[in-house]
């Protein structure tokens, strides 16, 4: 079953064609990385999937049902996390989730149970603070909680990690990773390491078109280079080189691996 199918989608803002002839589909239960530069049209595409913007041409289907602009029924399948989720600053996290649950038509007991579960999942349990005092990362986490509240079959996340520090990014990615297999996730970003970490399919958007798409594994194979990288502990370096030499295997290129700044950052804090 296809969670999402887009055919021949077009969208102009004034004279600028943001999306031209966009077509792709996302199978159910996959984690789809929607990659593109800033301004490539990722947010526009997502808003069209949610019926918030009106496409100039083309068809969008969510689980086989067509999306209509305005109030679309297909939104009952989807959860949406905008790039900068904004909440009513005078509410607490659980009050906000209650509002969302009541709008979505969940029963009161269900809302209480799901809210508790989700606040636990995103690490905002027992937070009595009003959302106005939240940091960017906390808002992002509350954003995930509200997106997952109605047990969506399709989760659409717009740049969920871009604005966060490495710790926040890792937390969000971990949460998304936990959903793998249960919920279909579409996840837009320009941070490629994030995609590699959790996605099994990718689509690369450039100038309003998909220029590369497919399964992560297949793509990697297709574009694979015949190179191998091995890591050995430093003290074995001489030994390894000696063995290679004895076998008459000359490496083309050797380099000392430096720790990545991200690893360092995560270690010291």
């Amino acid at each position: 079953m296809e969670a999402l199918r887009i055919e021949g989608l077009k969208k102009k803002f004034g004279e600028t064609e943001v999306i031209r002839e966009l077509s792709f589909s996302v199978p159910e239960h996959s984690v789809f990385g929607f990659i593109g530069k800033n301004g490539a049209g990722k947010t526009t595409t997502m808003k069209m999937i949610l019926g918030l913007l009106k496409p100039d041409a083309g068809k969008i289907q969510v689980f086989g049902e067509s999306v209509s602009y305005g109030e679309t029924k297909t939104n009952r399948f989807t959860g949406y996390l905008p790039d900068v989720p904004e909440f009513y600053s005078y509410m607490t996290a659980s009050e906000y989730l209650r509002l969302c649950g009541e709008i979505a038509g969940l029963a009161s007991g269900e809302i209480r149970r799901r809210s508790a579960e989700l606040l636990e999942l995103v690490g905002l349990t027992d937070n009595k603070k009003r959302v106005g005092g939240y940091s960017r990362g906390m808002k992002q986490r509350l954003g995930i909680a509200q997106a997952l509240l109605g047990n969506p079959r399709l989760l659409i996340c717009d740049e969920p990690t871009s604005a966060l520090d490495p710790v926040g990014r890792k937390e969000i990615l971990d949460i998304l990773f936990k959903l793998k297999g249960r919920t279909t996730v579409i996840f837009s970003t320009h941070i490629l390491t994030d995609v590699e970490r959790i996605c099994d399919r990718v689509g690369v958007l450039s100038e309003g078109r998909i220029v590369l798409s497919g399964e992560m594994e297949a793509l990697k194979k297709q574009y694979a280079q015949d190179k191998v990288m091995m890591e050995f502990p430093k003290e074995k370096q001489e030994e390894v080189l000696a063995v290679l030499k004895a076998q008459h295997l000359e490496p083309l290129h050797t380099e000392v691996v430096e720790p990545s700044l991200e690893k360092l950052f995560l270690e010291v804090i």
Binding site: S89, Y90, R130, G132, G133
Partner: protein, 70 residues
Amino acid sequence: MNNNFDLLVEYFPVLLPVIAVELTLAITALVHVIRHPHYKFGNKVVWIFVVLFIQFIGPIVYFLFGRGEE
């Protein structure tokens, strides 16, 4: 002057509700000014003076225009 004071004493019962509302407003605004030190414009000292000394209008102007986001 004495006359004015007598007048005030005479009218005190009718003025009491007005004074009560005035004080409620001023105190609510004062608490808010002190606990949320982010304003659309102005600073803490200015707002404390405004809400305490400009009766009625001060607190209302603060809540309508000066109060920042939480």
